[in-house]
């Protein structure tokens, strides 16, 4: 097992307000980790910091990713290095077709990896194959990025991008929220297709439901900006029964 991602004492704030207060986490290749926690605990911040959102300020700590200092990399450089964030709220880009963004992204990343760009035919074959896994209408490929997509279509589109870009570390930020069971299964199916060495997944979720379909190796609870409890898949079930309240108290007690 190799440590793909190694986070030490990560502190993050936005506009001077502390959101993450010392996170330690190691993710090895082949593993699936789930981060759970109540609303406002810093889950989305954590996901976006990993992807390089410049709104957040890392005030302390370090992140190593594949033997690189992740915090020194720009968002696009992280993407080139194999990090992918499936957004909680995918952004609309009017006038830019979905397939054009996909192709631009894939070929940019391939070029950075020293691989040849895919020509139009090969690309089209690939995207149709991957869209079929997500049961996405071809029509969605030619529409503007996320414009007029339903909530479920947006999330499936994120996973389509994931399948196309084949990242080493995929972060799913509440991809399950707002999905019906069918869509949830499709998303899980997409993730399970890619699961395994040399990849790793970090699932950020509020509910245990997603974990019925994508079985995590580790579950961590984020509360008040810290990982207050870690365990196996059974921890998710316990949270489902007991809620987050008992852990919030733990977090408050543990805070320095």
């Amino acid at each position: 097992m190799n440590a793909l991602l190694s986070i030490k004492d990560l502190h993050v704030s936005v506009d001077g307000k502390a959101i993450l207060n010392g996170i330690d986490l190691v993710i090895n290749t082949g593993e699936v980790h789930a981060i759970m926690g109540p609303n406002g605990s810093g889950k989305s911040t954590f996901a976006q910091v990993l992807a390089g959102h410049e709104q957040f300020e890392v005030t302390r700590g370090s992140i190593r990713y594949a033997d690189q200092d992740l915090l020194a990399l720009k968002p696009e450089e992280r993407a080139h290095a194999g990090i992918f964030l499936a957004f909680q709220y995918p952004v609309e880009i009017p006038g830019v077709s979905n397939i054009y963004l996909l192709r631009t992204a894939l070929n940019t990343i391939r070029k950075q990896r020293g691989e040849a760009e895919l020509d139009a035919m090969d690309f089209l074959t690939l995207v149709k194959e991957r869209a079929a896994i997500m049961q996405m209408d071809e029509d969605l490929l030619y529409r503007s990025v996320n414009a007029g997509f339903s909530g479920g279509e947006k999330k499936r589109n994120e996973i389509l991008q994931l399948l196309m870009l084949e990242p080493r570390l995929a972060i799913l930020d509440e991809t399950d929220s707002g999905l019906d069971i069918d869509a949830l299964q499709m998303v899980a199916n997409g993730v399970n297709t890619l699961r395994g060495d040399p990849r790793a997944f970090l699932l950020v979720t509020h509910y245990q439901r997603l974990l019925d379909y994508i079985k995590p190796d580790f579950v961590h609870v984020l509360a008040a900006g810290r990982l207050v409890k870690s365990g196996g898949p059974e921890l998710a079930l316990e949270l489902e029964q007991r809620g987050y309240g008992w852990l919030k108290e733990t977090a408050a007690g543990a805070a320095p």
Binding site: A51, G52, H53, E54, Q55, K74, P75, E76, R78, A79, H80, F84, L85, F87, Y89, P90, V91, I93, P94, G95, V96, L101, T104, A105, T108, I109, Q112, S144, Q161, L165
Partner: protein, 482 residues
């Protein structure tokens, strides 16, 4: 998005790529404007009496007109007596018969701009009538067009060779008394392009003119006249860049289009004149009057413009829909960066029955750029069943720029249907971050988003122009997004 984003600023800071001055001896008239100058211009061009009279009438009327103040553009008063109203490259005296005889420096200028005339002759079907300062230097593909009876030449040549056509149509769409700058142009216009497409002829190639302002202190006063006879079709492309210099240069062109019954004219512009530096110094004043008349049933005129250059752009390409079922269209992208100002839009005048017009306007403002859409939709009493659809979208980049929309609607016929939609959006951090997290650089992300915003208009451009326009937008963004 914050204005301090260093990557975006670097993008915005890209310098004007076409900035240079060609060192050619110009045969110029001393600065100043009076009746003698008007007579001198006319004499130098050996014009017939009717044209001199027409110029003088325009000049005398111009003297009575106040400088227009109603637009939202701001600039110091122009001293019209500090401008030289005529200049022609010296090689003109030996009247080059072919490109081989053209001043090599001139050709080199075009090469720098990526407009190699010689190559273009060979390239797919584009005839070029290049205006370098005030005299047409080279006209290509003329013979091929002549086979179809199409006249495509400099305005001066049209005056010499086809005076009847000029006399019949000149000023019939934009009268010499129309507005301050149109009157000035009518008095002192130097040269321009002339197109005549005979009845039933479909022009087999895109007609193209590249304008370039060069000699210092020489105002450019082009005059373009396009006549499409019954059932004919023509597509005309106009593209411009200008060399870098410090003082402001006035450009007051007039373009007149006449489409007779069942005729169609497509007029596309890519305008990339020097916009001034990032402090707002220098740059072209682009005060243009463009108007087309659908002078017969089912006539169809489309204006498509991509305006990225000039310190100030003031233009309203318009269509007068006289014939029944006539169609007028206006598709526009206007980008302002740094201290650029644009006040642009259109006028659609519905006179005939069941006339239709479409207006799609996309304004992009970056840094301190100010962008105004100003449009008039006027439906006259007799225009039963007239329809208009207007869509005005503004995109803001940074927090110091501005977008303004001034729609004027006058409807005098109860059966008319007029729709207006407007939106304003901002390139957000979230859009940029989304694209970057997919591997795109910040520069590529901004270009992608802006091109997406403009797609509806770019789709209306002829293919080769659409590619050029996208590139131009990328270049302009580097100095235009803040």
């Amino acid at each position: 998005m914050t204005a301090s984003n260093p990557q975006i600023n670097r993008l915005l800071d890209r310098e004007y790529a076409a900035g240079f001055v060609t060192d050619i001896d110009a045969d110029s008239v001393p600065p100043g404007l009076n009746e003698d100058v008007v007579r001198l211009i006319s004499a130098k061009k050996q014009e017939p009496q009717f044209l001199l009279d027409w110029r003088l009438k325009a000049y005398r009327h111009w003297l009575t007109m106040p400088v227009p103040q109603w637009s939202s553009v701001r600039y110091p008063p122009i001293d019209y007596n500090a401008i030289s109203y005529y200049s022609s490259p010296k090689s003109r005296k030996d009247a080059p018969a072919s490109l081989a005889e053209v001043d090599p420096k001139l050709l080199a200028t075009y090469e720098k701009l990526g407009i190699p005339l010689q190559e273009q002759e060979l390239l797919a079907g584009v005839a070029v009538d290049a205006v370098f300062d005030s005299v047409s230097v080279a006209t290509t593909f003329k013979d091929k067009l002549a086979e179809h009876g199409i006249i495509f030449c400099s305005f001066s040549e049209a005056v010499r060779e086809h005076p009847d056509l000029v006399q019949q149509y000149l000023g019939s769409v934009v009268p010499p008394t129309d507005n301050f700058y149109a009157s000035l142009n009518s008095a002192v216009f130097s040269d321009g392009s002339f197109v005549y497409v005979p009845k039933g002829v479909r022009c087999p190639m895109e007609l193209s003119t590249y304008f370039r302002i060069n000699a210092a202190n020489t105002g450019q006063f082009e005059r373009t006249l396009i006549i499409a006879e019954e059932g004919s079709y023509v597509s005309y492309l106009e593209g411009c860049t200008a060399p870098m210099r410090d003082e402001n240069q006035l450009h007051a062109a007039v373009v007149e289009l006449v489409a007779l019954q069942d005729a169609q004219i497509r007029y596309s512009t890519v305008q990339n004149w020097y916009p001034g530096d990032e402090q707002g110094r220098g740059g072209i004043y682009n005060f243009v009057t463009k108007r087309g008349a659908c002078r017969g049933d089912n006539a169809h005129i489309s204006w498509t413009q991509v305006e990225t250059g000039s310190a100030i752009t003031w233009k309203y390409p318009s269509v007068i829909l006289e014939g029944d079922n006539a169609i007028g269209e206006f598709y526009s992208v206007a980008m302002t960066n740094n201290f650029q100002q644009a006040d642009t839009g259109t006028k659609m005048i519905h006179i005939g029955k069941n006339t239709r017009s479409t207006i799609i306007s996309k304004g992009i403002s970056a840094r301190q750029g100010q962008n105004a859409y100003r449009g008039l939709v006027k439906v006259l009493k007799g225009a039963d069943g007239a329809r208009n659809y207007t869509q005005c979208d503004s995109l803001l980049i940074g927090d110091r720029c501005g977008a303004h929309t001034f729609p004027y609607i006058e409807v005098k016929n109860p059966t008319a249907r007029v729709e207006h939609e407007a939106s304003t959006s901002r390139i957000g951090e979230d859009q940029l971050f989304y694209c970057r997290s997919r591997g795109l650089s910040a520069e590529d992300a901004v270009t992608l988003i802006v091109n997406g915003f403009c797609k509806q208009v770019f789709n209306k451009l002829p293919m080769e122009f659409a590619v050029e326009a996208q590139k131009l937008l990328g270049v302009s963004l580097e100095g235009a997004v803040g």
